[in-house]
């Protein structure tokens, strides 16, 4: 097969930007819809509890969403490729354990302990990527199996509880304020900007879209498919690792199962945000909106004081409802643009 220059990638810059804008714009609409849903949920909590302050609530929803906001970026990248990462919960737990063991409650060790922990998490992601790109193991099984395996390894090394405290600086990072605003909110803002720029503004990001929407075409165009796949899974491992660090700082103690509740919500956040599961579609702002929505939903459900059964039913129905709302907007948009 003769390799040609990749036409879409060698287009002139304005043309590329225009194409890019055309792709991003219609995707911003569902983002707005999902964010509006989240806002409605927060306002509903306020109406249910007139004594509460709206800013306090907004801040609580944002601060507790940070783990999901970070971890679901990685999940989003793998889904963009038409894959999935089921090892996220385990990697986050390993990261939290590792940072506690390495720092042993000392801030002085953070400068090397943080990179070491994150490198380890990225390495697990890279192993996933290698298995998927080179050994052609389906992502679902590769990441499931590596999650099971590394959980076992973690259990063997630590028997489940970090015997050391988390460095105080990490705790301060998660509980501190700057100019009256919790520091995690600044972190979220920074992360969202970086993530959105990577996914929708860099060559690598665009190439991921190309692979996700047409792997065969991407291969014909000579894109480094294996390399990009490994990169995406490594980034997913890295994000899960960051999420684990933040979790350890937030709860000032680490357990191996600390990340488990994250897995399913990362997938939900990505798809609620408008990504297509078979790959090639979805922007990070959508995922971000999905994560905020899920966090807000949990707040409302906590304040409602219902039996767990009814909570689950409501949660399930609201998730499907959010999807429905989104799809109708899509339909309307499609009709309008045709």
């Amino acid at each position: 097969m003769a390799k040609r220059d990749a036409p879409t990638l060698s287009e002139s810059k304005p043309a590329r930007l225009r194409a890019h804008a055309a792709r991003a714009n219609p995707e911003l609409l569902p983002v707005a819809v999902v964010l509006a849903c989240a806002a409605l949920l927060i306002i509903a909590t306020k109406i249910l509890n007139p004594g509460s302050s709206l800013t306090q609530q907004l801040s609580a929803v944002l601060v507790t969403s940070i783990f999901l906001v970070v971890a679901s970026f990685g999940q989003g990248l793998t889904i963009l490729l038409g894959g999935i990462d089921l090892s996220i919960g385990v990697v986050a737990g390993l990261s939290a354990m590792m940072i506690s063991v390495l720092t042993n409650g000392q801030n002085a060790s953070l400068p090397w302990a943080v990179p070491a922990t994150l490198a380890f998490c990225a390495a697990i992601g890279m192993i996933n990527g290698l298995g998927i790109a080179l050994a052609k193991v389906p992502p679902f099984i590769m990441t499931l199996a590596s999650g099971i395996t590394f959980f076992g390894v973690g259990l063997g090394f630590t028997s489940g509880l970090a015997q050391r405290p988390v460095a105080p600086a990490l705790q301060a990072l998660m509980s501190g304020h700057w100019l009256g605003v919790p520091i995690p909110i600044y972190l979220i803002a920074g992360f969202v900007v970086i993530a959105a720029i990577f996914q929708n503004g860099t060559a690598e990001g665009r190439q991921l879209y190309a692979i996700g929407s047409g792997p065969r075409a991407a291969s014909v165009l000579g894109l480094p498919i294996s390399g990009l796949t490994i990169l995406a899974y490594a980034l997913s491992g890295l994000c899960a690792g960051v999420s684990g660090l933040l979790l350890a700082g937030y709860s000032s103690a680490a357990t191996l199962d600390i990340g488990d509740p994250l897995l399913l919500p990362t997938i939900a956040a990505v798809v609620i945000g408008g990504a297509r599961v078979v790959g090639g579609k979805g922007i990070y702002l959508g995922t971000f909106a999905g994560a905020i929505f899920l966090s807000a939903l949990e707040t409302v459900i906590t304040v409602l004081s219902l039996s767990q059964g009814l909570r689950n039913i409501i949660e399930g129905v609201i998730i499907v409802g959010a999807l429905l709302l989104q799809s109708e907007r899509w339909g309307a948009l499609r009709r309008w643009s045709n």
């Binding site: 909590t45 249910l48 509890n49 004594g51 509460s52 302050s53 306090q56 609530q57 801040s59 609580a60 929803v61 601060v63 507790t64 737990g93 506690s100 959980f151 973690g154 259990l155 028997s159 489940g160 509880l161 970090a162 015997q163 050391r164 405290p165 509980s175 979790l247 937030y250 709860s251 000032s252 103690a253 357990t255 191996l256 199962d257 600390i258 488990d260 509740p261 949990e298 707040t299 459900i301 906590t302 304040v303 004081s305 767990q308 059964g309 909570r311």
Partner: protein, 412 residues
């Protein structure tokens, strides 16, 4: 599409290599099994793993199994079955088939294992469940149910709150018999006091991080909460309050994480309104169950009932006392911050019933050097609670009422 038969011929080759390699690797792990004379084959079957409570309980059991004389007489093995009931059924069946003399297990379901438990009893295997209970009549349950944590802790909180205030309920895991029972006991007490308003509740899944996130959200919606009732996830719940409302703390009851005990014993925090109770179910229940089981197995103990009681830990904030060494001596019950991580559960140790265990033993799962197994004092039996630890049985008349704390009169 020709050439298919040729490809089929090439197929088994890599497969055989792999299978051979696999058999080699795994074959190396096989150990000869022997259970003759004074030897006993004993299994520990865990369900959940990777959290603090389960780790502490399992380590305590492992340490005891390595303590003389059990290190010589017991062939001991730990299996982790995970949270799927089918998986645990399969592992229990494997243990029975492997000729187990006794199995100590943390049941993933209170009723779902009953059939395999009966299989085990038919094969003369001693089946002991710890902490979480099963309803199979032939199984033994070692738990702290008679301590009525739900009713007593709720009453303690009501008394500390003066019978009124806004509170949050941190349930455990939805759909478990234990959570159901504790809720019934606690809510029954709270409902008696019209001044107590439950403004938010959530299922914290006995998990500190989850509990912390949820309390943070409730506080944002209800800035004036006065109290939080928990079964576990207590330390996380309190942390959320300390972060979001550091100047006004709460009345709280729950687990015995060392960080939590340090907080509720801290005079500065008490001055800000923190009144804490450290009770709930202790991981030392696991090693205690192991000792009971081994005494039954070796014929030193005859049990007359199937539900054995492990005393419910109970340390209100006024009784917190810091230790200097690595063991609970002279009435101390809390370690300094430098000795253990905040989430370490202090009730993993019990100096009276389990003198064989020290801090290192329950942290690493290794036997304490120089220790030998001491005989147990007389066991006490737990209440029969239908649907919780038995099927056709009668509960005591007042099983939902507090029996340790005296109720205050309802304020006007």
């Amino acid at each position: 599409m020709n050439g298919l038969p040729r490809r089929l011929k090439t197929l088994p080759k890599p497969l055989l290599h792999c299978a051979g390699a696999l058999a080699l690797i795994l074959g190396g792990l096989a150990q000869p099994a022997s259970a003759q004379g004074e030897h006993y084959k004993v299994f520990l079957d865990l369900s959940y793993s990777g959290n603090v409570w389960q780790t502490a309980a399992a380590n305590g059991v492992k340490a005891l199994a390595g303590t003389p004389p059990y290190d010589k007489t017991v062939e001991f093995k730990t299996v982790i079955s995970g949270t799927d009931v089918q998986h645990q059924i399969s592992d229990l069946q494997s243990m029975i088939a492997a000729g187990a003399n006794a199995i100590l297990f943390y049941p993933v379901s209170g009723t779902g294992l009953n059939r395999v438990i009966e299989q085990g009893c038919k094969h003369n295997v001693l089946m002991f469940a710890y902490d979480s209970t099963v309803t199979a009549p032939c199984a033994y349950n070692v738990s702290s149910l008679s301590g009525r944590y739900g009713a007593n802790s709720a009453q303690w909180m009501v008394n500390e709150m003066g019978g009124k205030g806004e509170m949050v309920i941190n349930h455990g895991v939805a759909g478990t018999a234990l959570t159901d029972l504790m809720d019934r006991q606690a809510l029954g007490v709270f409902k008696r006091y019209p001044g107590i308003k439950i403004v938010g509740d959530f299922y914290g899944n006995w998990n500190d991080a989850t509990s912390q996130e949820n309390v943070a959200k409730v506080i944002a919606a209800h800035p004036n909460i006065d109290a939080i009732w928990t079964v576990d996830g207590t330390y996380g719940s309190l942390q959320a309050v300390q972060q979001h409302r550091p100047d006004r703390l709460v009345v709280i009851a729950g687990q015995s994480n060392n960080g939590y005990r340090l907080d509720i014993g801290d005079a500065a925090l008490q001055a800000k309104g923190l009144k804490g109770l450290s009770a709930s179910f202790g991981p030392a229940d696991g090693p205690y169950a192991f000792k009971v089981m081994m005494e039954v197995l070796t014929g030193q103990l005859k049990l007359t009932a199937h539900n054995v009681e492990y005393p419910l830990p109970w340390v209100p904030y006024k009784e917190i006392k810091l230790c200097s060494g690595l063991a609970f001596e002279n009435g101390c019950n809390t370690f300094p911050e430098s000795k253990v991580p905040a989430l370490f559960i202090d009730t993993a140790l019990n100096g009276d019933l389990l003198p064989e265990l020290n801090l290192t033993a329950v942290q690493n799962g290794t036997a304490m050097s120089g220790a030998t197994i001491k005989p147990l004092p007389a066991v006490t039996y737990a209440d029969d609670l239908p649907g919780v630890n038995c099927t056709d049985c009668k509960p005591p008349a007042d099983w939902l009422e507090p029996n340790r704390v005296k109720p205050i009169p309802v304020p006007n």
